[in-house]
């Protein structure tokens, strides 16, 4: 997977590159918007990491240009500003997500992976959290490469949780995704499903666990150290 990193601060660029390479990504780093856009035009990247504070051009302009080029690559924005207006204008200009400085490498990587896990993207076909894998097309779940059988609804719930690994999945999102608009859902069917799923993940030795946050939602956490 190739990532395009446009970041003018050389030490930060080095650190990010080193971190991402260590996680198995290929990274091309450019310090200016001009160089970055040139590279973007000549090569297909799986994702773009863009610092909004660039020396040669306004970051939001660059963002708009990237988005207008009709690429499907998700764009992750790095910004030192976390004001609500910055966020709105950034997302309006086409950023898929944004990370506010300072950030831990882990967080950047997690956000990047979450973006790449979107259907149709680099990591969208095979979701993996720890030793747990889900083939989104064949709906096959495996732990340490060994296939395990899960029901259709369990796989559906697992997919949603895996795509948002480390983040809250509201109960409402699970209900929508599993039962759609059908009204005859018993109020605790999600709870029953999740507790069954949690038991099964434990019994098959999956290196991840589902946390219930009562009234808020569910969160799948990678437990591998």
């Amino acid at each position: 997977m190739r990532i395009l990193l446009i970041e003018d601060h050389s030490r930060l660029a080095n650190s990010i590159t080193k971190g991402l390479v260590g996680l198995g990504f290929g990274v091309d780093t450019f310090p200016t918007a001009g160089d970055g856009l040139d590279a973007f035009k000549s090569m297909a990247y799986d994702a773009i990491i863009l610092d909004l504070g660039l020396p040669d051009r306004d970051g939001l302009d660059v963002l708009r240009e990237l988005r207008e080029s009709d690429t499907s690559a998700p764009i992750l924005v790095l910004t030192a500003r976390d004001g609500i207006d910055d966020r709105v204008s950034g997302l309006d200009a086409g950023a898929d997500d944004y990370v506010v400085k300072p950030f831990a490498m882990k967080e950047l990587a997690a956000r990047l992976r979450a973006l790449l896990r979107r259907p149709g993207l680099a990591l969208g076909g095979v979701l993996s959290v720890g030793n747990l894998q889900l083939q989104t097309f064949s709906r096959q779940v495996s732990v340490n490469g060994e296939n395990v059988h899960f029901s259709v609804r369990e796989v559906e719930a697992l997919e949603l949780l895996m795509r948002h690994e480390g983040q809250i999945v509201p109960k409402g999102s699970l209900e929508d995704s599993l039962y759609g608009l059908s009204k005859n859902v018993s109020p605790n069917s999600i709870e029953v499903l999740i507790s069954r799923l949690r038991r099964r993940l434990g019994s098959i030795g999956a290196g991840c666990s589902i946390h219930t946050l009562y009234g808020i939602g569910y969160l799948l956490k990678d437990d591998t150290p």
């Binding site: 601060h9 930060l12 650190s15 504070g53 500003r81 506010v100 809250i168 946390h211």
Partner: protein, 465 residues
């Protein structure tokens, strides 16, 4: 110096002025009348003495005779007339008179005229004004005396005072009171805009330093003060602006180096050192974020136009902090209210306030326990942890900036101060109590939703997702 009342000063000054002015006016009028009276009297008696002298004749036997025209003689002899006369010879013996006694002949120093006053009854009500004229008729020297009986001036002034009090005085006092009343009214009216301006000035603070005092209805005399205050406010606002920009820039500029530092810590080989350093860097990052938040909150306007269901907002904010809780083996739960609790607020400020309280609770609740959020229709959000709680003596202090109960806890000491500020800005409040079963209970109270237009059933955000 003790502040003085303008109205009081004006009242006292005007009263004194009015009293002095009326005394002067009456005194002058009285004296003037007296003087005119006296001058007229003198002229009259003198003229009459001359007239009488003109009727004196002398024959060749040296005998003096007086032939007054009948009307004149009648006038002098009428007992009701105030006038009387006498003609004396050189020895002072009466030659002619009108039938009534006159004063003794005054001593002539030189000249042939003498004006005099004579008080026949001592301190009584009568006083006589007279003119004595020395005249030569033939070879004889004669004295003509004409007198007018008048009232003693002491009695006259008494009656003038009486008249003053009975006729003029009360009018004068009434006039004084009316004038005072009108003056006070004018002063009050004139300073009314100043009171309005004072009320406005009281409302000016760091969050609305852009307010200026209106100058259009200010009296000309006060205008320089108001203008000076306005220009002082200009300078202060500029200073505030510089300081805010500095705060924001400083915190902002620190973020990139902190990112580099954090990324470098992540690549360290020794996990123990890395973990210790990471804690420090995270602590520093939190301070920087809080400082930036403060800088932004300083400019938080007090117009809140976002209508939010506290249940949904609490779920969102708790959801974004859930990974933090789970990473430290703690949980968060939310107990929603039965009905949506709708408040008018700023989601940015609400997120900053509730986020800080939740982070604080996550820090203090022991591993394996959950932070509990409860939305009530008070409307409020309660945040309960299972930590040691906040001792009673610290409950007020923990909302002060940079105050930290436990210095090792790793907080920036800013979080709860920020919460307090935000809740005040949102016209709500925050307090801490002991949770049932120990632990801290933070309550964020929001203003009653009375000002919020009630949403129709369809528009209402769903209570549960």
């Amino acid at each position: 110096m003790k502040p003085y009342s303008l109205t009081r000063r004006i009242t006292i000054g005007l009263t004194a002025t009015m009293l002095i002015a009326s005394l002067c006016a009456f005194g002058w009028l009285y004296l003037k009348t007296e003087w005119t009276d006296a001058a007229l009297r003198k002229q009259t008696v003198l003229d009459q003495a001359r007239v009488i002298a003109g009727y004196l004749t002398i024959d060749d036997k040296n005998l003096v005779s007086l032939h007054l025209p009948p009307q004149l003689a009648e006038a002098y002899s009428n007992p009701e007339s105030p006038y009387r006369y006498a003609v004396r010879d050189a020895d002072g013996q009466y030659l002619f008179d009108g039938g009534m006694a006159v004063a003794p002949l005054p001593a002539f120093a030189n000249g042939h005229l003498k004006l005099y006053e004579y008080d026949p009854d001592g301190p009584g009500p009568l006083l006589v004004f007279g003119a004595a004229l020395r005249t030569e008729v033939g070879r004889r020297t004669l004295f003509v005396q004409v007198e007018q009986q008048a009232h003693d001036p002491a009695y006259i002034s008494k009656s003038v005072v009486d008249e003053f009090i009975v006729d003029g005085g009360w009018l004068e006092i009434l006039f004084l009171f009316v004038l005072l009343g009108v003056s006070i009214w004018i002063v009050k009216r004139a300073i009314a805009p100043i009171k309005k301006i004072s009320t406005l000035a009281e409302s000016i603070g760091p969050t609305n330093a852009n307010i200026r005092l209106p100058v259009d209805k200010v009296p000309l005399e006060i205008l320089p003060l108001v203008s000076a205050v306005n220009s002082a406010l200009d300078r202060l606002e500029q200073g505030l602006q510089h300081q805010r920009e500095f705060n924001a820039n400083a915190a902002h500029q620190l973020r990139t180096p902190l990112s580099v530092l954090m990324a470098n810590v992540d690549t360290l080989k020794e996990p123990e050192v890395a973990s210790r350093l990471r804690t420090d860097v995270e602590h520093m990052s939190r301070i920087v974020s809080q400082l930036l938040l403060i800088a932004r909150l300083e400019t938080l306007t007090t117009n809140f136009d976002e209508i939010v269901d506290l249940n949904n907002a609490a779920a969102d904010i708790a959801g974004s902090l859930a990974p933090l809780a789970i990473a430290s083996a703690k949980g968060i739960e939310l107990i929603r209210s039965d009905e949506p609790v709708v408040v008018r607020t700023s989601t940015f400020a609400l997120k900053a306030a509730l986020g800080n309280v939740i982070e604080n609770a996550i820090r203090h609740t022991p591993e394996g326990t959950s932070v509990r959020l409860r939305v009530t229709d008070r409307p409020s959000i309660e945040v309960i942890d299972h930590g040691p709680g906040v001792p009673v003596e610290h409950r007020a202090k923990i909302f002060e900036r940079f105050w930290r109960g436990d210095r090792s806890a790793g907080g920036a000491g800013l979080g709860l101060a920020i919460v307090d500020r935000i809740m005040k800005a949102l016209q709500g409040s925050v307090f801490v109590d002991e949770a049932p079963g120990g632990g801290a209970l933070f309550v964020l109270i929001f203003p009653l939703a009375a000002a919020v237009p009630s949403l129709s059933k369809q528009e209402r955000p769903l209570a549960a997702e």
